[in-house]
């Protein structure tokens, strides 16, 4: 982040209108250091400009958002990605998250919410929209109370803790992190660490549901 505290962001989206809209909505709160409308150019320019946060469209010419993540992450692990999409399909969401994005929001998000998400991602936290929380609960369903005897499941990675489940449920219900913290009687920092832990599990777990979604998108 620049000394002034303004996050340096990079826009990757094949719709010029959407890029212009994001620029206008975020206004002076961020510094837009570049734009790209397809995957190859995006990988090159991101490596050159080193933004704090990349706003990444999931559906892109040249291999999609996943290709950008694959091209940038190994060389510039400090760059953070927030995925944006009009698509609500779970396989899209899960695919970009597993490829390394630290958050996912739909394009209908308001400017203020988007700015908040960018700041949170820039600080290294994860951003879970209610929808993403719902998908994760869905993907990790079936190992809650009474159904834990599933063989081949690594509890460290393949199961959510009861607390993480509670946090996700509240996020899915539309609670902000602050409200989640208040409701559960924990600090906002703890909420964030729970969410980050869920994100880690989402990226590393080999749960059947997750790999199925990934293979559907031919990623594995």
């Amino acid at each position: 982040m620049t000394p002034g505290g303004r996050p340096r962001i990079f826009l990757v989206d094949d719709h010029a209108m959407f890029r212009a809209g994001v620029r206008a909505e975020l206004g002076d709160a961020v510094e837009v250091v570049g734009e790209a409308d397809e995957a190859t150019a995006a990988v090159e320019l991101i490596g050159e400009r080193r933004p704090d946060v990349v706003l990444l469209d999931v559906h892109l010419p040249g291999g999609g958002g996943v290709a950008v993540l694959r091209g940038v992450m190994p060389h510039h692990p400090e760059v953070q990605f927030l995925a944006l999409s009009v698509s609500d399909a779970p396989e899209d969401v899960i695919a970009v998250i597993r490829a390394g994005a630290r958050g996912y929001v739909t394009k209908t998000i308001s400017g203020a919410e988007l700015l908040q998400a960018v700041e949170r991602i820039g600080a290294g936290d994860a951003v879970f929209s209610p929808r993403l929380a719902g998908f994760v609960l869905d993907a990790f369903a079936g190992d809650g109370a009474g159904a834990g005897v599933v063989t081949g499941i690594d509890p460290e990675l393949d199961q959510l803790s009861p607390r993480e489940r509670e946090v996700l449920r509240l996020i899915a219900r539309g609670y902000t992190y602050k409200e989640v913290a208040r409701d559960l009687g924990i600090s906002a920092k703890t909420v964030e660490s729970h969410v980050s832990s869920v994100l880690r599990k989402l990226q590393l777990s080999t749960r059947h549901e997750l790999t199925r979604w990934a293979t559907d998108r031919r990623l594995v």
Binding site: V86, G146, A172, G174
Partner: protein
């Protein structure tokens, strides 16, 4: 209400579009109009002759009760595979057309006379509805005859040259080739309209697969190579027998087949290609029609409504959101627009419907997250009704622009939350006449063994929590 009218309008136009797209069908073949002249007058109660049925077999329309032929024999335009000779004979004699065809095939296989008889029938019998045959027309075709006669001098010169060079066998080809060519010219000139079309479209292209000079060159090359191969094959066949070698006839046959493939192969290929292309084009056209119908029903209607309500931003947003949702469910879930709500069979689909209705009726955004799903039962329907009540309340009273619905189905329980960030209220201070709403939600849930909890705080918004016990799903 404007929106409701818009929806009705949309439905009405949808039906109109459907019929509009399916109407331009190929017209039915005009069966009765091509029947043999006169038969309608003889037998007003005659069944309409079908295209594939041997119409002559329907009790002898051309025969009286003693079986004598009545009226001239005509080639059938209706019942035909090649030129309608068999169909015509069947009609004239009252024998089933299939039997006639079998007889011709047997004659052909037996002695080849079937082909000859058929060709004669084609040339000598007039087509249905015509009075002259190809033969009679050819005989009187002055221009055609002159054309044929004009070739004779060239032939004579050719014969003389061949004789002078002692190429007698070449001369022996001359007259048969001339006769065949003359017949081909006269037949083509005097065939009836649709037969000429058939010759032009289906027979001639055997020799012209490509247009232009290149095509002609490749044709010449093909015919040369084919003739060489065929000649070699025939020679091998003819000369093979005296030596008694078994290999030669086989090689000869192979060469003849190769010759045929070389000459006609491109034509067959182009036929297959045309067939495939045609099928593809038809599938594409159907797909496009379906797409056009959907887009017309949904997107175009919405765009029209948006133009009309350009001065009402809230209404525009509402329309755009509803349309976005519909389009998305069509593109990603394959559900055609307009059918989602009518066919809700599960909790998730029901919530989808609820969301769309509240969004379009009240101009708020409803955000939905559903985890798990269950088929609709009485209990699940009650849960949906209660959720709708809660969502509509939030849309009407809270003043919030967005309402969140979260539903989670677990093996023994379904939870559903409706939350807004609106003005909220103090549940203790609600006047008794307004408590009806909460009561109706609670009563509804209680009837199916569930419960409802309403949490609200002034300035903090409201959350309604509904829970429904479920029977574990059958394994």
């Amino acid at each position: 209400m404007v929106v409701a009218a818009g929806v009705r309008d949309h439905r009405g136009i949808a039906e109109f579009t459907d019929s509009g797209i399916t109407v331009p069908r190929a017209p039915q073949p005009p069966v009765s109009s091509t029947a043999v002249p006169g038969d309608g007058r003889d037998r007003p109660d005659l069944p309409r002759p079908g295209r594939s049925r041997g119409s002559g077999g329907r009790g002898g329309r051309r025969r009286d009760h003693r079986g004598r032929l009545r009226g001239p024999v005509r080639r059938s335009a209706e019942t035909r595979v090649l030129a309608g000779v068999c169909g015509g004979l069947a009609q004239a004699t009252g024998i089933d057309v299939t039997l006639v065809r079998i007889a011709f095939v047997l004659l052909t296989l037996g002695s080849g006379i079937g082909i000859l008889a058929y060709a004669l029938g084609w040339l000598l019998l007039p087509l249905e509805g015509e009075t002259t045959s190809i033969f009679t027309r050819a005989v009187t075709d002055q221009k055609g005859l002159r054309l044929v006669v004009a070739i004779v001098p060239a032939l004579v010169v050719g014969q003389l040259v061949a004789g002078a060079l002692h190429l007698g066998y070449l001369g022996s080809f001359g007259w048969p080739v001339f006769l065949a060519g003359a017949a081909a010219i006269l037949i083509r000139r005097n065939a009836s309209e649709d037969e000429r079309a058939w010759i032009n479209d289906d027979v001639l292209p055997m020799l012209h697969t490509d247009s232009g000079r290149q095509g002609r060159w490749s044709l010449a090359l093909r015919i040369t190579v084919g003739a060489a191969l065929g000649l070699a094959g025939l020679l091998a066949l003819v000369l093979g027998h005296p030596t008694g070698a078994a290999v030669r006839p086989i090689a000869g046959s192979l060469l003849v087949v190769a010759a045929i493939v070389v000459v006609f192969g491109p034509w067959w290929l182009s036929l297959v290609r045309d067939l495939l292309a045609e099928r593809q084009a038809r599938a594409l056209a159907e797909e496009r029609a379906l797409m056009a119908a959907h887009v017309h029903d949904s997107v175009l209607q919405t765009l029209a409504l948006i133009q009309r309500s350009a001065d009402d931003p809230r209404h525009v947003i509402r329309l755009a959101r509803a349309q976005e949702r519909e389009l998305r469910s069509w593109l990603f879930d394959g559900r055609p627009p307009g059918t989602i709500g009518d066919e809700a069979t599960t909790l998730a689909q029901g919530i989808d419907l609820l969301q769309r209705q509240v969004e379009s009726d009240h101009g708020v955004t409803v955000q939905v997250v559903v985890v798990g799903d269950r088929p609709l039962t009485d209990g699940v329907r009650a849960l949906l009704d209660a959720a709708r009540e809660a969502t509509v309340n939030a849309a009407k009273w809270s003043g919030a622009g967005q309402i969140s619905i979260y539903a989670e189905v677990e093996p023994t329980e379904a939870m559903l939350y409706v939350r807004d960030r609106g003005c909220g209220f103090d549940p203790a201070s609600v006047p008794t006449d307004r408590q009806g709403i909460a009561r109706s939600i609670r009563a509804r849930m209680a009837r199916v063994g569930g419960s409802a909890v309403i949490r609200s705080e002034a300035g903090q918004g409201t959350e309604v929590e509904l829970s429904l016990p479920l029977r574990p799903p059958a394994r």
